[in-house]
Assembly symmetry: C2
Amino acid sequence: MTSGRQPLDELFGVLADPTRRGLLERLVHHGPHTATELVADATVTRQGIVKHLQALAEAGLVTSERVGREVRYRATTERLSDAIAWLLGNSAKWDRRLDRLRDRAMKAAAKR
Amino acid sequence: MTSGRQPLDELFGVLADPTRRGLLERLVHHGPHTATELVADATVTRQGIVKHLQALAEAGLVTSERVGREVRYRATTERLSDAIAWLLGNSAKWDRRLDRLRDRAMKAAAKR
DNA sequence: TCTATGTGCAACTTACTAGTTGCACATGAG
DNA sequence: CTCATGTGCAACTAGTAAGTTGCACATAGA
């Protein structure tokens, strides 16, 4: 059962870092930014941020677009549905509220 | 902003490992088990499993109870709501389906 | 009491990850 | 062209995490 690097490994792993979650939050709620712009809010160097953004990109949570000499990173949160679906699917099944949530999440995930 | 070891770090970090997710799934869907029993389905040693269960316990996802010479581990999935809430809160806000999910999840989390 | 089974503790190896620094390359503006 | 700004690549360090092995301790049962 322990095959190499499943999608959820990457997804949850990427979200386990507070700096990365902060970056993603920023991109989700305040739109696209460059790595250099994001340095202001972080405690790490630009290179550190670039690494985090690349990790997020590999997990499918951000995309990048070159604009002149800048590179804009944009959040693409569709993949989060996979994580949500797993979590709801493993929340106590005897809870009716979560049962309803799970059903809806499964449908939402299936549509994608 | 990068303070030491936030709750979500631990939560997502613990879920990033496929062996741990497998253990949690097993406990959620098939009830309490001992570490020794869980060895059968895993690819790692008992000690490895014990370590994973301890990690899950520290993240508040399982509890353990001693019964004679055995130790039964039981899933306690309430904490998953925290992860669900974060994910829904950072899913694209323009998506109405996820908006509804988020509202419901927030209410569910608040009740706990 | 003796034994089989289950658990706990500790040391150790290996591998990965966060974060850094240094420098080279690319591009927009004057 | 020249320079400031933004990006890319690579090497390196330090810390942590997975997983193992070996052995000691505890307990149910014959």
